[in-house]
Symmetry: C2
Subunit: 606 residues, 2 copies
């Protein structure tokens, strides 16, 4: 392809809002242009790289037997109401009404659409498993779209959904998908950190996020400096670090006028947060955990939101305990309760449930609601706690003697310097961006949308489901984040928009003839080649070649053509040194090099 015949509008300056490298470079290299906030157009060079990433994903999906579909981008609102997400998605989902007044959704994801399709086609266990995917336009109405295509509003996602007769089949596909994701990222040249993730509002358990490190990442990762433990902070665990048990002393009520927070308590009692028990009251909606035997829950009614859905409590309150220097991880607490949503209770509810003003809750004598304690509390034998009365606390509170929680579990927010739960090494934090996510969805959609199949015994059953996404735009931008220098992009070979660029010093005479011939020869050998035929100074062409980051650069100049066998200068974008290649053998040499590098890459990922 001649540069003059394509459309690569390179720039020196960048828009003010382009603060990260990939955004700046994609703009400067003429790969993308902004049409509106969060809405980008890919220009020819950008689209070529985009298609490479897309094709790698497609090949790896096909390789594990996933079947590509193309559902509409516009989905009927009706199926989102069936799944219950019409409400749950909130403002992030863009809605429209057609001329007949029917609700439409610009798909932010497609669990509903695939599940609706499968519902109509599925009858027998013999059709399972089904593993379906699309690579298609999505829209999420990000509150603050930024960082170019890294966090745009419209983007392309590969989203796959699997349906199984049982958990074993789901696990098999989930594992195969995890391996496919590792191959995809490897092929794209991306260093990902696979982390155990909280599956959040999506429901279900068993999930893995594929993260790339990024200073602008919106996830906090907890990593171990000694082993490969990696987790999203929302799910990260750590080794318990119980202080030595203190001597047992008699429980003693004390007056603490106006002392409501742990900090005030530490000052007032000349103690440390480590010796206090924090008691927080949460309001929980749609909890699925069976609480029928828990304090204060005997009379609570459960209900089903759909015929096949599990019974849930519309609203319930719980008390969560944790050592005073630690924080409750609300995602963990929600997970324990199998609830989509938890939040601190309103003051009025705290007063009603604890019989005391806010600030004086504590586990001793608390019977109005289930008490769930973090494991850190189980080692506390001489703690300060609220006494369920205004301006009163207890000291010398002992776990097991003065109170016993209804449940003891892991509720702790892990932090840097905590100990790795696997090896005991020191944990540290990193910011990360999520590129992909695989997870076992469970029965959330298949139940709420009423999907059934007949099993071997002719009995109607609900299939279990998995869901697997990769953001294509974000993956592409992340490749650039990982592969660039101060002069521009340095494309990994497998996703480079072109593999070779030919730069004639001046596009006339024998230089032009050689450049033209090399282009034809390289293209005949299957090397995707760009010929910079512009009438520009060599410096401009070199700068652009570095900026757009084509892996192989071939410079054709008079000097190397004259005297003896004509030669051209060959250089990898990533290297500083160059070598001379004899013109008659140049195309074959370069094509061989390309094949060799691609073969080497294939060996690494397969």
């Amino acid at each position: 392809m001649h540069v003059s015949q394509t459309f690569i509008p390179t720039r020196r300056e960048v828009p003010a809002d382009a603060v990260i490298a990939s955004h700046r470079l994609m703009f400067r290299a003429g790969m993308i242009r902004k049409l509106a906030n969060g809405l980008f157009a890919y220009l020819p060079l950008g689209l070529r790289a985009f298609r490479k990433v897309e094709q790698i994903i497609r090949e790896e999906m096909d390789a594990i037997g996933a079947l590509e579909l193309k559902p509409p981008v516009m989905a009927p609102g009706e199926i989102w109401k069936e799944s219950g997400r019409w409400e749950a998605m909130g403002d992030a989902m863009l809605r429209a009404q057609n001329r007949a007044g029917a609700d439409l959704v610009v798909s932010p994801t497609a669990e509903e659409a695939f599940t609706a399709l499968v519902r109509d086609e599925l009858s027998s266990y013999r059709q399972l498993p089904l593993l379906l995917y699309q690579i298609n336009t999505k829209y999420r109405d990000e509150l603050r779209p930024r960082y170019g295509v890294m966090r745009g509003r419209e983007f392309v996602m590969k989203d796959a959904y699997s349906y199984h007769a049982g958990e074993a089949g789901l696990d098999e596909t989930y594992q195969a998908m995890g391996r496919a994701y590792r191959r995809i990222f490897k092929r794209c040249g991306l260093s990902v950190i696979p982390v155990r993730a909280d599956s959040g509002a999506m429901g279900g358990s068993g999930s893995e996020e594929f993260m790339v490190e990024s200073v602008i990442g919106d996830n906090t990762l907890i990593l171990c400096n000694a082993c490969d433990y990696a987790a999203n902070v929302e799910k990260a665990a750590c080794r318990p670090d119980h202080p030595d048990p203190a001597a047992l002393l008699p429980l003693e009520p004390i007056d603490t006028p106006g002392v409501k927070t742990i900090e005030e308590l530490c000052v007032f009692l000349q103690t440390t947060a480590k010796d206090c028990i924090k008691t927080l009251i949460y309001r929980v909606r749609q909890a699925e955990l069976d609480l029928s035997g828990a304090p204060g829950c005997a009379g609570l009614l459960r209900r089903k939101n759909a015929p096949d859905a599990p019974e849930v409590y519309p609203e319930v309150f719980v008390a969560a305990l944790i050592r005073g220097d630690l924080d409750i991880n609300e995602a963990k607490l929600a997970g324990v309760l199998k609830a989509p949503e938890i939040a601190l209770a309103a003051d009025v509810d705290v007063v009603r449930l604890t019989g005391a003003p806010v600030g004086f809750a504590g586990p001793v004598g608390l019977r109005s609601l289930p008490v769930i304690a973090d494991e850190s509390v189980s080692a506390m034998t001489c703690a300060v706690t609220g006494a369920l009365a205004a301006d009163r606390h207890y000291r010398h509170t002992a776990y097991g003697r003065d109170f016993s929680p209804w449940m003891l579990t892991d509720l702790r927010t892990v932090r840097a310097k905590d100990r790795c739960p696997v090896c005991g090494g020191e944990l540290y934090e990193k910011k990360g961006n999520e590129l992909g996510h695989i997870f076992k969805l469970g029965y959330k959609y298949t139940r709420s949308m009423g999907v059934h199949f007949l099993d071997e015994n002719g009995k109607a059953r609900v299939p279990v489901m998995g869901s697997y996404g990769i953001g294509v735009d974000r993956a592409l931008a992340s490749v650039i984040e990982e592969h660039h220098d101060e002069r521009g992009i340095i494309w990994p070979l497998a996703v480079a928009p072109y593999q070779a660029v030919i730069v004639p010093i001046k596009y006339t005479g024998p230089v032009k003839a050689t450049a033209d011939r090399l282009t034809v020869e390289l293209e005949a050998q299957g090397v995707e080649t760009l010929l910079d035929d512009r009438d520009e100074r060599p410096g401009v062409k070199f700068n652009d070649a570095d900026l757009i980051g084509i892996p192989y650069r071939i410079v054709v100049g008079d000097k190397n053509l004259s005297g003896g066998v004509p030669k051209v200068e060959f250089k990898h974008r990533k290297d500083t040194g160059s070598q001379l290649l004899e013109v008659p053998k140049a195309a074959e040499t370069i094509a061989g090099l390309l094949r060799g590098e691609l073969t080497q890459l294939r060996r690494e990922y397969t």
Copy 2:
């Protein structure tokens, strides 16, 4: 690909709303499923065929130097307001508001998006011409979506836009695009009728529609039975068919109490419609035609809707004359006036302008507005016309003697049995569906959106624009409309989802071994092969093979494998007869046949 490992849910029954062959067959063959009214999902088999059509279009676009872009599907409402189409598109355009209250459009077409991109990048004539395209999702909120993907609400369109320094460049690209379209349709196996079309609300002149004949077509085509003349009825011309001029008689006013229509007049005066002149008053908005010298228009003000836009009349009235047995073609009248919109005037305006009740308008003495006459009127020497007074007509009205229109032109709606304007042959009508449309848009968008470039002399100028669309879904459905029989689809080789299907009579023992081996061999030779490995009766498998329409069918059965050289039965889907191929040579023979047929096709279209 093994049938058991893909997802081709064939059906015997069809939904009640599937009334045309392509809709029925795409549903039955498991190619598509409906998610909601006008919203379809392509299943794996459908998507394969879809991608083939898409790829043919892409190759032909690339071959003429068009550059592929990927703008967002969601476009900012702002640019539609700039072009003036925010209003003009009406209910067909689906709108939404993002969380910040900004207007968004689910792109129904993309003149605005491309023009906005070009506006920001264009500076010099040296960048022109620019020929850009996308193959991307579109949405039009069809009032009555039906006929499956033939008229869905969401669809994929290849839309290309070109920008030129002058009309000559536009014409060159327009011609190249016309040739590319012919190749595309030929490659897809589609018989298209290229017709001169009215460019409608899009503005500009020079346009060609590519139609396929269809009983459910929403266009009426006028075709000649003697030459290749073809036109959309909105633009069709015909050879004038003036009756012999009648003898001149003196103009004579007559009382015609309560006689308002041509029909009533014919009865009342014992004459025929051919001897009457029909006079219709139209209200015209945004007319660009210079009317400053026309009757009644001297004082009318013109204004510009945008700085670079031409001056237009916000509102003007004209009288249109035509022979009483003919009908005014309003698209032609609008074209003459260079107006986006015309409509019959309200009664109150007719009374005000003609000084008479509705039904008594006529050209004699009509000076309050421009009179535009169809050519048929110029031969009328003894006609009946309204007399601009209640219950009064004239007879013996002679063109040129009693009145002279301000303009004489072609305003006639052509009908079957009219004479071909090219050869004089007899015209006939057909219903057609538009698959593609190319046209010279002119300056509508570049002017209203303020696009400029500096010409050779450093002078700022506005580029001229062309626009070129093909509906991918509709093209695919039309292939099936043209290529099917009562048993199913008969895919043309170039767009078949698979090229060969192997049907083992029973998928066990030597039959299975042979079928497996042939599949591997065919795939190794590049033949896209489907192996029906299901445990179904042969009849079911034959029926499905016919239904999904794979061009080459290979039947593997015990009978032909035993005794002598083992053989398989080979048959074209389109033929009734079959032949036996020796197993060892079968794959090579079939691959050779495929290459031969594809080469032959390439010869036909290049």
